[in-house]
Amino acid sequence: MTVFIVRRLLQAFLVVWAMSFLVFVGVNLVGDPVEMMVNDEADQEERERVIKAMGLDKPWYVQYLHFVGRAFQGDLGKSFVYGEESLGIIVERMPATFELALAALLMAIIIGIPLGVYSGLRPGSRISKVIMAGSILGFSLPTFWVGLMFIMVFAVMLGWLPSTGRGDVVPIMGINVSFLTIDGLSHLFLPALNLALFKISLVIRLARAGTREIVHQDYIKFARAKGLSTNRVVLVHLMKNIMIPVVTVLGLEFGGLIAFSVVTETVFAWPGMGKLIIDSIQNLDRPVIVAYLMIIVLVFVIINLVVDVLYSVLDPRVRLQDVKA
């Protein structure tokens, strides 16, 4: 197990390094950050000063070597736009994104599992057909379009929920969270639902497939024959058995939620990492783009690793091998 984890971490390091190189070189080819920064009225002398202040007067490989040197000391460079450590800027925005992703995950489970189990138990019923049709829609609807429609309907036409932003936050252990205030919750609802939509469909399908497979297995038949009520059978046995695949998949999908929050955050002006990366791409804030990528790679590696390890703990039949990256 230790060997496995060490190998995986080494591999992760390699991936982070390779990607940072590609992205560092890549973003250096796009656009001219100095032209984005300086005031229109700045003269030639001023422009040259800014180029120097941002370290852009040196060739890219020198810049890259500087970057690598500093990166080993935990310094990923200063943001062009904010003039502060890019790492700090990203970490500052992390809680908002994680809160959104977790809320979406919760929604996916709360909405998805009952619907999925229901349609798995009564596959022929009209309601099941509606649920399944809904899940196809959930897969097909582009997230951004649904988000726009949500704002249009719930915020503008009906005026039930706020359109954008994060609302009131309360600090817990120095981290600002918004789910503890009514205002915060009302701001959280639409973006979380928007982000969850795709995962709800996914959970519906997983739960349905799991249910259908399990209802035909002997122990459920046996439980029923023993005279246990249907509710109890469904609740206890079935749930226990379909939770494993659902949890595993959702664990992996959490990363996907963080990635897709880029879209939701842009639509709802949610102040998380996703919006930061879009803004940074538009403003050519190279250090932040590179740092974001490195952090996100790290987050993914950790999530995958945790899921693999958990999985092997949950299901002893799985042995940890170096088969899955």
């Binding site: 032209e35 984005m36 925005r93 915020a155 503008v156 005026g159 002006a269 102040p271 803004d279």
Partner: protein, 530 residues
């Protein structure tokens, strides 16, 4: 970090205990932009400067029409051609309780010009004053090497910080630990991308502002910003999309304030190269002669543009057709440059006279995320020029890409584009800024022509402008600036001006705001109407 935590905590406690009555003293503003730092000398850019003026004062303030008003200086006057005397206000205190005096001004001028990390420094406003002499604790002499009439205007752009905060840079200002100014508001908490809170400073030297607290929420997407206003999440927004204005005017819960800005949208034409890459003959072959070098062609382009159609259909009536660099009411404007008349037949004739009866082909480049409706204006112009035979392909791109290839590094490295749409806001509120940067012959030592993307050059205009920039007498200078404009824009058609942007703010009914020509949103000038 500790500071930020405590601030956040205090704010959270305040949020819980705030009664609705107190809420009425709070103004929430949705802004399309966000400052990159609270440090007023870090980044000389609109979004930063408009926030900075809440926390910091300047020697001279600008009113909503960019007229100069006394600020931390109560009076200023030129003593001779080279020396300006500034009398400072007495009894002013910084947010940290320390007194304001001449040393703070000298410190701020030096800091503004020499900020090591500045993304765009204020050096262009401070460098004219080569010496600053302290006469007494509240009198200063600003001395320049050459006669410099723009001294007062330039200094109205520089914010004054406390000399106690030496060697503190943007980070210390951002977290609030060093951001002590003399402005009407103190820095509350700032969570980037989310919220910036301002708390009223009771020791402010000017009129006491109405709002106890101003909350700034950056909402970049224009429709979302408007939706936030309509849904009641914010009280006031800037940069209202032009397309929504007509409908908002009939909404009795919303009050609009509109006003022309100092920003003109215009076209550059390559008047330098002989084989421009993006100009082709009418049948698509490379050209041997650059048509834009012929003033008749430039004039034909000018006449082929239907400014009224652009203003009405693309800008929804929210713009003013332009025939020169600044709109009515500004200093140094020419009285002899009316808006060019739309005359496609005349344009066609002129084009034929210049030797292009069949027209030619050209690509018009423009940004699509920089000015109001920029990409649509580019498309509209392409449509209009195509109709007189100049087959124009519109090519718009994000500003990050556009300005990379649109920047001018002089005759050795001219911009890649040959025909491009750009905008220019005059920070000085008079035409010397666009004349110098857009039409003046490229010269690094003089600092001219840095945005002269068509590489226009006319020694005669340069001479008039030089003379204007050395004339301290206002009336004489105004006449010279008008003359330079008439040569550069009128006679030479060095650039083709399209329209002045009109900016629109929207607030809940009962809030008034005087639209500013400098496009800034100033929270404490939003007032409840009585």
């Amino acid at each position: 970090m500790y500071m930020r935590k405590t601030l956040a905590y205090a704010a959270a406690v305040a949020a819980i205990s705030l009664a609705p009555v107190v809420q009425a003293q709070t103004l929430t503003i949705g802004l399309g932009t966000e400052p990159t730092s609270i440090d007023p000398h870090f980044h000389n850019l609109g979004p930063n400067n408009q926030i900075a003026q809440h926390f910091f004062s300047r020697l001279i303030e600008q009113d909503h029409k960019q007229n100069l008003l006394p600020g931390l200086a109560t009076s200023w006057k030129p003593l001779n051609e080279l020396t300006w005397e500034f009398k400072l206000r007495k009894g002013v205190k910084f947010h940290d309780g320390s007194d304001f005096d001449a040393d703070d001004v000298i410190f701020s001028m030096h800091r503004a010009g020499n900020h090591p990390n500045a993304r765009s420094s204020f050096g262009l406003y401070t460098k004219a004053a080569s010496t600053i002499k302290k006469i007494d604790s509240h009198t200063l002499h600003f001395i320049s090497k050459k006669p410099y009439p723009l001294m007062a205007v330039d200094l109205s752009n520089v914010h004054i910080v406390s000399a106690n905060e030496k060697d503190k840079w943007e980070g210390d200002y951002n977290n609030g630990s060093s951001a002590f100014g003399t402005g009407p508001y103190k820095v509350g908490k700032w969570v980037k991308g989310e919220v910036l809170e301002m708390v009223r400073y009771d020791g402010y030297h000017g009129d006491k502002p109405h709002w106890e607290k101003i909350i700034i929420k950056p909402i970049k997407s224009a429709p979302s910003r408007l939706a936030a206003l309509l849904a009641g999440d914010v009280d006031f927004i800037d940069q209202v999309p032009t397309v929504d204005i007509a409908r908002l005017k009939t909404n009795d819960k919303v009050q609009l304030s509109q006003g022309v800005s100092n920003r003109v949208i215009y076209l550059h034409m390559d008047q330098f190269r002989d084989n421009p890459e993006f100009v082709k003959t009418h049948d698509g072959k490379p050209v041997t002669k650059n048509p834009f070098k012929d003033v008749r062609v430039r004039k034909a382009v000018n006449m082929a543009i239907n400014r009224t159609a652009i203003v009405e259909r693309v800008m929804e009536g929210v713009a003013i057709p332009a025939g020169q660099l600044l709109p009515e009411g500004f200093f140094g404007r020419s009285a002899n440059l009316p808006v060019p008349k739309y005359d496609p037949a005349g344009a066609k004739k002129l084009l034929a006279e210049a030797g292009y009866p069949n027209g030619f082909q050209v690509t018009l480049h423009g940004p699509n995320d920089r000015y109001i409706n920029d990409a649509k204006i580019v498309e509209a112009i392409a449509q209009m020029l195509t109709r007189i035979g100049i087959k124009t392909t519109p090519d718009t791109m994000p500003k990050s890409v556009f300005f990379k290839h649109g920047k001018n590094r002089g005759p050795a490295k001219p911009p890649k584009w040959n025909f491009l749409l750009v905008g220019w806001g005059s920070g000085t509120g008079e035409p010397s800024s666009p004349l110098r940067s857009l039409l003046g012959t490229y010269s690094k030592p003089k600092g001219w022509g840095s945005s002269n993307r068509g590489l226009h050059s006319d020694p005669e205009m340069d001479k008039v402008l030089d003379e204007a920039l050395a004339t301290v007498d206002d009336n004489k200078r105004a006449a010279l600036l008008a003359k330079a404009t008439e040569i550069g824009v009128g006679r030479n058609q060095g650039i083709i001006t399209l329209h002045y942007q009109v900016n629109t703010w929207a607030g809940k009914k009962g809030l008034t705001y005087k639209a500013r020509t400098d496009e800034r949103t100033t929270g404490f000038l939003v007032t409840p109407s009585k």
